[in-house]
Structures are given as structure tokens and as C-alpha cells.
């Protein structure tokens, strides 16, 4: 920089400093966290205007829309100074706030909240989306989730659930210590205890299924009196991306055995001779699906293996357990597993005609050339395929109790 005088240098430096100062004043579009409504849960129900909305409408608040969807937003609300909307119980105590809007475009509905609340809603921390099964029977998942997949605030790891009742109910909790969305999000972590809970389906996974026009299951939620329970699964058909029916808990167990990705759980069976309870606890489960193609005839062979522990038995009180007894427990448990598989398969293959257990994926891996031809009407072909299954359970330990 030899050719510049010290004056020039000084001028340059002072300009630079003042420019830097201008640039350092912080975020351009900041939003203070106290001024935002953080939404953590979202429920979609069939359009049914709340009494509050009806009153607003009477006063002339309407705009052009079809009442297709009722959109319930759960907002974390610690300060609780603004109590607009349909807060069911007495205000002030609950850590959350549920507000509902009815209309058609989800995005318009979300923005509609701005006309009712002083703090804008942000979706960065949205954890769960719950969709009512009856709504999903009419509207495809593509339409219901498009906005959420497009929005740059909502993360694709947000989980999607189905509810057989009103999702509004699933987003409520008894007492005032839990935020219902967080409770549901947390319950998904219990998959190592029972395989009645499906592996989590995040938005991005649902999108992959939608794009592939594949069928899939979503965890079903039951809600009663502010309590919730994961129970069974909602089945979405690939071609329409609409709800076709539900698997109850036993049928879901059967399908889960075929998928073989459970981390733990119980098989409760009854001893052949004494009709007393024997319980097998799953330590590991594996399933292998093999596809066969003879001419145009597609068939599958499912091999299921599991290691486990004898966790409870009401048969041999205080007596020695011999190898024969363990064998009989294994057989009883195997029989029980086969029973649930039969129930589950029957439902998904014959009744709903939707492949939600990954048979198509295996077929595409083992017969990629053929898959390209059949993938468009796979669900139909799947319903005609011959499926055989073989279950091997092995008891490898007896718990803390010795054989005596």
C-alpha cells in the first residue's frame, strides 16, 4: 500500500469503521421470542365451525371459503395474557393454548390467526401433526400436507399421526402439567418397550411415500377425557393417498412382526395344557421377506426369528422347568404370533389391498426389472400374492429366577 498517503489511509479506515458499525447493528428481521406464538402441535379435523367462529360470522366476519377443514393449533403459552379462541377449561393455568379455525386453504387459515391474536404464530418448533381419519378418507395426504412441506419454518422431522376421534381432543390434556404435543412426541420413544407403537413417521418420510405412491401406516391416537393412547394404525392407500381403514392393536402386531423392526415387546400366550399365561419378552426380532416370481405369479416367503426371555409364567409354580416346558412355551408363543400375523395379513392383503409391510420393496430389490412393470398396480397384485410365513422364537434366558 506504499502508494497511498497516510491521510488517504486514515480516510479509508474511518469510512470502513463507520460502515462496519452500520452493519453490526444486528438482525434485520428479528422477532423477539416473547412476541411470538410458538406452535408445537397441529390438528386437522373435518370442517365444523366452532361456536366462537359462528358468533364472529354472525357479526359479519365471513370471507369466501368452503368449510372443509378445521385447523387446530397448539401454542405454547406461558405468559397467558392473551386468551383468545376456544380455551376449553379455565384460563391461566394451562401451559398451552388451542385455537381453531375453519376453512379450506391451510395457509390462509394459519394466517387467519393473525386477525385474532396479537402475537404471530411461528412453526419452527412444530412437533406433531395429527390428522383426523374421516377427514383423510375424503382428502388426500398430498393436499393436507402440502403447506407443511413447503413452509420453510416447519422442519421435515415433525411427526405425522392419525386420530380416530377429533384431533382437538388428542391435543388436550387433563390437568395443567403437560403440553399434549410434547406428550405425544415423547410417547414415540417407547418403541423399545412395545411394538404396538409404530416407528415414527416424519413429514419427510410421508413425502417419500406420497411421491412413490406407496401405501403406508400411520400411528393412530385415541383420546378420551384428556388422556391419549396409541392404538393400532391407520392405513393409507398408495394410489389415492387416502385413509382406507384401521388396523387394531392385534392386527398391527401381526404386521409389525412381518416388518421385523420392533425393538422390544411382549408376546402373551396360553399354555397348551393348563391354559395358564406364559409371557415371552422380545429381545430381538428379525424378519426376512423373500419374493418368488413364477411366470406372472408372485409369491412371498416370510421368515421371522426372534430371541427372547421367559418373563412370566403361571404354569410351573415353584417347580423345575425342564427343556420340554421351555419348548412348549416357545411353541405357544409361536402360535400366538402366527395368529396375529394371520389377522394382520388378512386385513392389509385381502380387505384393504394395501401393501404397508414392505413386500413391494423386497420385490423391487429382488426382481428390479419386473418391478418396473408391476409397480403401478402393485397393491392389486399384492392382494393376490401367495404369502407363506414361518415363525421361530427362541427363549434364551429365564430372567432372574432360576429354574427351581
Amino acid at each position: 500500500m506504499g502508494k497511498y498517503s497516510s491521510f488517504q489511509k486514515r480516510c479509508f479506515l474511518s469510512i470502513l469503521c463507520s460502515m462496519t458499525l452500520l452493519m453490526q447493528t444486528g438482525c434485520w428481521s428479528k422477532g423477539e421470542i416473547e412476541d411470538l406464538s410458538i406452535s408445537v402441535g397441529l390438528g386437522l379435523d373435518q370442517g365444523n365451525e366452532t361456536s366462537l367462529e359462528k358468533k364472529f360470522d354472525k357479526l359479519g366476519a365471513g370471507y369466501k371459503k368452503k368449510d372443509l377443514i378445521t385447523y387446530t393449533l397448539q401454542i405454547v403459552d406461558k405468559q397467558s395474557e392473551s386468551k383468545s379462541g376456544d380455551v376449553k377449561s379455565d384460563s391461566g393455568a394451562k401451559p398451552y393454548l388451542n385455537v381453531s379455525e375453519t376453512g379450506d386453504s391451510l395457509f390462509e387459515l394459519l394466517r387467519e390467526f393473525s386477525t385474532r391474536m396479537e402475537r404471530p404464530v411461528i412453526g419452527h418448533h412444530l412437533k406433531v401433526i395429527i390428522i383426523n381419519e374421516q377427514l383423510s378418507r375424503k382428502m388426500s395426504m398430498n393436499n393436507l400436507l402440502d403447506f407443511n412441506l413447503r413452509d420453510n419454518d416447519i422442519r421435515p422431522n415433525c411427526l405425522v399421526f392419525m386420530s380416530s376421534g377429533l384431533t382437538k381432543k388428542a391435543l388436550e390434556a387433563k390437568g395443567n402439567s403437560v403440553i399434549p404435543s410434547f406428550r405425544i412426541f415423547g410417547m414415540v420413544g417407547n418403541t423399545y418397550r412395545t411394538f404396538k407403537i409404530l416407528p415414527p413417521m416424519s413429514l419427510i418420510k410421508v413425502e417419500a411415500k406420497m411421491n412413490a405412491k406407496a401405501s403406508y401406516m400411520l400411528q393412530n391416537i385415541l383420546a378420551v377425557d384428556g388422556e391419549v393412547k396409541f392404538s393400532g394404525a391407520a392405513v393409507i392407500k398408495g394410489a389415492t393417498q387416502k385413509f382406507v381403514g384401521r388396523l387394531n392393536e392385534e392386527e398391527l402386531l401381526g404386521v409389525s412382526w412381518i416388518i421385523g423392526k420392533g425393538k422390544g415387546g411382549v408376546v402373551k400366550a396360553y399354555d397348551e395344557k393348563t391354559k395358564q399365561i406364559v409371557a415371552y419378552e422380545i429381545k430381538s426380532m428379525k424378519s426376512k421377506i423373500h419374493s418368488q416370481l413364477k411366470g406372472d405369479q408372485i409369491s412371498f416367503n416370510v421368515q421371522i426369528e426372534s430371541d427372547g426371555r421367559l418373563s412370566e409364567e403361571w404354569v410351573n409354580q415353584g417347580q423345575t422347568m425342564d427343556a420340554g416346558f421351555i419348548k412348549s412355551v416357545e411353541e405357544a408363543a409361536e402360535k400366538e404370533v402366527k395368529r396375529t400375523i394371520k389377522l394382520g395379513l388378512n386385513k392389509i392383503q385381502k380387505e384393504y389391498k394395501t401393501d404397508v409391510a414392505g413386500f413391494g420393496k423386497r420385490f423391487s430389490i429382488e426382481h428390479p426389472k419386473q418391478w418396473k412393470k408391476v409397480k403401478d398396480d402393485w397393491d392389486e397384485l399384492f392382494s393376490e400374492a401367495d404369502i407363506r410365513y414361518d415363525v421361530k422364537l427362541k427363549i434364551t434366558e429365564m430372567g432372574a429366577k432360576d429354574g427351581h
Binding site: 428481521s29 422442519r155 422431522n157 413425502e207 423391487s364 426389472k369
Partner: protein, 364 residues
Amino acid sequence: MKSSFKDRITTIQTAVIISNFMLGSGILTLPRAAAEKVETPDIWLSVIIGGLVAIAAGIIMAVLSRSHAGKTVFQYNQVLLGKWIGGFLGLCFVVYFFTTSAYQLRAMAEVTGLFLLEGTPSWAIMMVFMWVSLYLMIGGINPIARLFEIILPLTIVIYLLVMFMSLRIFEWDNLRPFLGQGLMPVLAGVKSTSLSFLGVEVILVLTAFMNTPDKSIKAVVYGTAIPLLLYLLTVIVVIGGLSLEGVLTRAWPTLDLIRSYEFPGLIFERFESLLLVIWIMQIYSTFTITYFVAALGISQIFKVSIRKCLYILLPIVFIISTLPQNINVLFKLGDLLGQTALYLFLPIPILLLLLTKWRKRSNG
């Protein structure tokens, strides 16, 4: 303009510049761009082949530049082809590099505006970015190389971190069947994957600055190998995590992968901001080097000082980068740039190399 440069760069620095140039916006869009063409999970094979193609092209350019010691492509093609034709060809290169820098600038503004600074006007984001880059470029190639040497290892460490963490949603089945539809889809994707290795052409200019121009081939191979490994990892992890169908409709699939998991309890639960930070640094380096090369080209073709060119081009690059009306047009521009690069940097270096050999023989 002097034909030899005081500031020299080492072989490693050259490789680092090449790597930083490549790792631009491609890393966020590569899985989708390739998936659209390949349509099978074998995209990673296309990435390997694309990388090998890039290395081969790079070696040709390295050999060419090596045989014109101390001169950049803008200078020696005038020697080889005459003042007018050579000058015109040089201008083509300048336009390519310059448009690329405008493209990178805009891509940066798009992603930053969407995921980081929603509401901040894009001119504000771009201005700051351009000024910081100008400040670096005024210093010449050596400061550029030294800054890149800091950025690259940082990028690699953070990138590996976020990639390995996303293994929690990885599924092998998403990458199968292997070669289910044969080799043809893989080859169909090679063109789009080799485009993400654009950047190797900078060796045409960098060799002139090298301490040991004889090692230009080594620089090209090392410089391409690092992005090749990172791209390979990206494609495998992104397709394994999101599946082929999940990738196809996403604008920035790699970012979506990172947005698809969180680690409760860790200091950060969400890692996309980390990825965006290193990605912006990468865009910064791509912008800087393309802009610098374009300015250098103009200064050498028209024999004006590079400092003047650097200042004069600044408003122009800003205007060009604001031209695409939306992101689709931007992606189209990116494709167009890739096509142009295929024509500029595959046949022309080969011709120039043959011409060089022929001249040498007739002289000797």
C-alpha cells in the same frame, strides 16, 4: 500488466482452491439433480464416474497450462491463436467465470433468505457478501489461497459431523436394488454429476501462479478427490436417509436431510445452521475465485490493472445476479452454465494442447 506474479502459491494451496471452487451450491442440490436423471438408487456410481471424467479433463488442462510456464490461459491462447481469436476465446472464458460468480451470489442470497435471514432484503445480504469478498481479492491470489486453507478443513470437519449424525435416519433399503435397471440410468446421470465438479477449469489460470507448475496434475487430482469423496458421502447419506422419492421434489435435499433429525439434549439440537455456515463459506470461496479469475482475464486481455477491473465489475455482477426472476430460472441458469462449461473446457483445452505440441515440434 506484468506477466509473472510476485505472489506464488504452493501445490497444496492450488488443490485447496480447486476443492473450494467445486464445493459450491452443488452440494445442496446434487442429490436431486442427479436423482432426476438417474431414477434409480445407483446415483453414487454416477458421482464416481462424473468425478473421474472431471479428473481426466483436469489433467488435460493441467498439462496444457504446465507447458506455458508463468502464463494464464488468457495470455497463452493469444500467443497460440493470435490476438483476436485468442482474445475472443479469453472473453468467452471471462463471461463464463463471471456469470458463474453471479450465479453463486444469487444462490447464496436465495438460501440465506429462505432459511436464515427471512425478511432481510437480498441486496443487503449480497452487498455485505460482495464487499467482504472484494476486500480479500484486492490482496491478490496469496491471501485468497491462505483464507481458503482455513475454510476447507473447517468445512470438511463440520460437514462430516452433520453427515454422520444423519445416519440415525439412514436405511440401506433406500439404496437398493443395486444396478436394478442396468448401467444405462447410471450413465444418464453422469452428465449432471460431472457438472458438480465444475471448478477444475481454474487450473488453466492457477498454474501460472504455482511455485512448481510441474505439479499441476497433482494439484488437480488432489483438488478433485476431496469433493469427490464428499459428494459420494452426500449422495449415499441423502438417498439412504430420504429415499429416492423423498429427494425428487425437494429444492435443497441435503439441507432437508439435516432438517429431518434433531438431537435432543445436545448443545445444539438442530444442525442445519451449522451446515449453512460452512456452505456460505464455500459459496464465498467459489464467488471469490470466479470473480477474481474473471477480473484477471479482463485485465490481461485489455491490459488494464486488475484492481480497476475488480471495482468496475462489482456492480455488474450484482445486476446479473438479480436477473433470474425466480429459483427455477436460477437453476436453469446453473444448467446453462454447466452446458457451456462442457463446450469450453472439454474440446478447447484439447485443441489448445494439440496446437501447443504442434508448435513445439515445428519450432524444435
